[in-house]
């Protein structure tokens, strides 16, 4: 049940109606049942895994809170993390490791492979669950006593399969002091859902068709213009796809009285790679910073260790996306760029440049990010190198992005620039009514006339 299907909207409407029509004590049961139903609609076989991880971390956290002995607390933490990483490792990385082992042993690459179906959103809900256990271990979060509350935190359907990765503190602050959304929040929620829908169906899915046609048949599109437009199309696809999903998740949560953290802040307007990672998949960046980079030592042990920690964090961040060398390279590439920016002067890449330099820096950053996307999207390393060679070749004619989609992109850029300065999308919900109505009507027409409705293209991040 994809977010951009009529079935999902029927499910959402029924869930919201049941939620608000029910007495308060049973609302959490309704949300939990809806969340499990949503997950089961993909594949009911994933349910035991989700339940197991929920039970393990729920018990581990309560136990950890009761135990005073630091050694035993650490042992419980390790046990919990091992269970999470064990499941994640098995489902996500077993075949990758098995193929490497087979290569080392000079056997057939599939010699030790298993037919494994990756449970949907496993990377997201395990990270969310692990952050909770670590927070309890650090005594930054109290263990949740009620299993239903905890199960809902893990399985809450707006963010279950592709984030944002919500901290327990954020979720339960809303949950335990739940207030019905005020009018402005309801209007904002609807706007976020529609905006997400437009991003997904009218932009991401349109660019997906261009990116797919390029990357699935590289030989048919030689030359630099085709390569840049193919890679550019993927850059747009992945941004609009993932941020569209997140916008919808934020909107749905708002309608149910929950406030999710922002996950994207116009990342392609970043003026440096450092800035990019403050704007792109913010909840993952935050997770990697708090649970990996800082525990590794962060920037507390000198320049060399800082670079090591940065690169290591980004390598693992890359690997989080998928079991392939391409993701590792993508992570390493970003880690190296972040390290380089530190070498060149941290302040220069963290503070906004002079407005005259801003466009230039933004274009440079976007180009660097696009080079990284080659590894992210290409099927393997050979293809990645081929695409890079094409991008920097001096031949070829004609790009792949049609003019009308370019116009649509230009309009999006203008909206993003206005949003960067004025946050007008947020302000629309405050009125006047005609402006809100005009925005909703424009969004509905975008979905109707430009949205891809003939086929349901899955969200890119569902595979992670």
């Amino acid at each position: 049940m994809l977010f951009n299907t009529p079935q999902f909207f029927a499910f959402l409407l029924v869930t919201i109606a049941l939620f608000y029509l029910s007495p308060k004590p049973i609302r959490r049961w309704i949300l939990l049942a809806a969340s499990y139903f949503f997950y089961m609609s993909w594949n009911w076989r994933f349910i035991p895994l989700l339940l197991s991880l929920t039970v393990i971390d729920y018990v581990a956290a309560i136990w950890m809170e009761r135990v005073e002995n630091p050694g035993r607390r650490k042992a419980l933490l390790v046990l919990s993390l091992a269970a999470n990483l064990g499941f994640l490792g098995f489902f996500k990385y077993y075949n990758f490791l098995a193929s490497m082992l087979a290569e080392v042993m000079r056997r057939d690459p599939h010699a030790f492979a298993l037919s494994i179906v990756l449970p949907l959103g496993i990377s997201f809900h395990t990270f969310q669950s692990m952050s909770y256990v670590v927070d309890v271990y650090r005594r930054e979060q109290k263990a949740i006593r009620d299993p239903i509350d905890y199960a809902l935190f893990i399985a809450f359907f707006p963010q279950l399969v592709a984030g944002p990765i919500v901290r327990a503190g954020e979720f339960f602050a809303d949950y335990y002091k739940w207030m019905p959304p005020v009018s402005e929040e309801k209007l904002r929620g609807v706007l976020w859902i529609l905006l997400g829908l437009v991003k997904k169906m009218a932009l991401a899915d349109q660019f997906a068709q261009i990116a797919d046609s390029y990357f699935q048949n590289l030989a048919a599109h030689p030359g630099a213009p085709a390569a840049w437009s193919g890679v550019g199309a993927f850059a747009m696809q992945i941004f609009f796809d993932f941020s569209g999903y997140t916008d919808m998740a934020i909107g749905m949560a708002l309608l149910l009285g929950f406030h999710f953290p922002v996950n994207f802040r116009r990342p392609y307007l970043a003026f440096s790679i450092t800035d990019f990672w403050h704007r792109w998949h913010i909840t993952l960046s935050r997770w990697l910073r708090d649970y990996l980079y800082i525990p590794l030592g962060g920037n507390r042990h000198g320049a060399l260790m800082t670079y090591r920690n940065l690169i290591l964090t980004m390598l693992l961040g890359g690997l989080w996306h998928g079991a392939s060398w391409n993701f590792v390279i993508w992570g390493g590439y970003h880690g190296a760029l972040l390290g380089l920016e530190r070498v060149l002067g941290r302040k220069r890449f963290q503070e906004s440049p002079h407005w005259l330099l801003y466009p230039f820096r933004t274009v440079i950053t976007f180009v660097l990010v696009c080079i990284g996307w080659v590894f992210f999207r290409a099927a393997n390393l050979t293809d990645s190198m081929y695409v890079l060679r094409q991008m920097f070749s001096m031949h070829g004619k004609g790009g792949l992005i049609p003019a009308w989609l370019g116009v649509l992109l230009a309009v999006s850029l203008v909206i993003a620039l206005l949003e960067e300065k004025t946050e007008w999308i947020e302000r629309l919900a405050k009125g006047p009514a005609w402006a809100y109505v005009a925005a909703v009507v424009a969004l509905l027409f975008c979905v109707e006339l430009v949205g891809v409705t003939e086929k349901a293209i899955p969200f890119v991040y569902f595979q992670f």
Binding site: S183, L187, Y436, V437, F445, E448, L449
Partner: protein, 357 residues
Amino acid sequence: MRPAPVLLASVLVFAAIEGAVFHTGIYPWIISPDSSTGSVESVLRNERLRPKTGAQVLGIGDSRMLLECRISNEHAAETGYTFGLIGTAGASPRSWYYMLRDADPDARLYRAVVLAVESYDDADKWGDEADNDADLSYLIARLRLTDLWEFSRSYHDPYQQWKAARGILLKGLVYKRDFEDLLRHPVARIKYVKQSYRDSFMWIYNYQGPPDSVADYRVDFNARTITPPPNADPVRLEGLKNWLLAPLPPESGGQSRYMKYWLGRIYEHYRGSPTRLIFLRLPRSGWARPDQPRYNPHSSVRDLAAQPNVTLIDEHFFDSLEKPELFRDQLHLNGPGMDRFSVMIAQEVSRILGPPR
């Protein structure tokens, strides 16, 4: 702001604009004449604008209904009837109903409507014609909100039913591809549309079929082979093989149910009107395959023939045209075949109707 009134106002404004642009003639006016919708709109517009003096006969069918009105009307002095045609490539009996409903809303414009069918036996096809996806695209400009139930329910596949229902409600969803094409080349589109408005009637009216034929092909039904001439077009050869040598689809009765429903709807539209419905069976191919579909005494057209004002032209009336030298491919008559077909229709319809009153 209170959410409910604002959201309701948003939906109402959207529906009002959507309705004004897509549920009226505004968008169909600029639709690409080469699109499915555009081709139906063109033939209907041409027919609407065609001067209609004297007794009129209207032909309808798919791409095989190759009635050249120019040729038929050359015999108008002799036959007493002037012919028009709203046949469109790919149009199905379901499309014919909606096209006729709009071409002749009061059911009294024509002395006869000539409907060209593939078979008098409702021979089944490999696919379910009720699930023909293209009908929605052909008809979208003709469909009204009141058609939502009947049209969408006429599909068997639930997804097609859903697609048809949402398409009738939100026509922009069906016009989407055309709209994207309009965004690509807006100026060229408007220019082409204007040119089509000006010239398309004469393009179609003066169309002369191609002279080439499949006479150089040799078909051996016993050996199940087709021997092409040197340098034969592989597409044409493949088409001949599929049409003449591939096994016939199993009989399921599905096509009969489909034809009975939609031809029945056409009959209902004309029931009690002065218009006669005349069915003809199209010339099948340059070669008649030996394994013809089983005779069906209760097929859609044979059952309808028992009704007043319905006539079937003899099933074998056009057999004399089933010669390879009169076909340009496995299905379609060539120029000389079309000329003879048109004269035969004009004369036979005139004989059935008698002199105009």
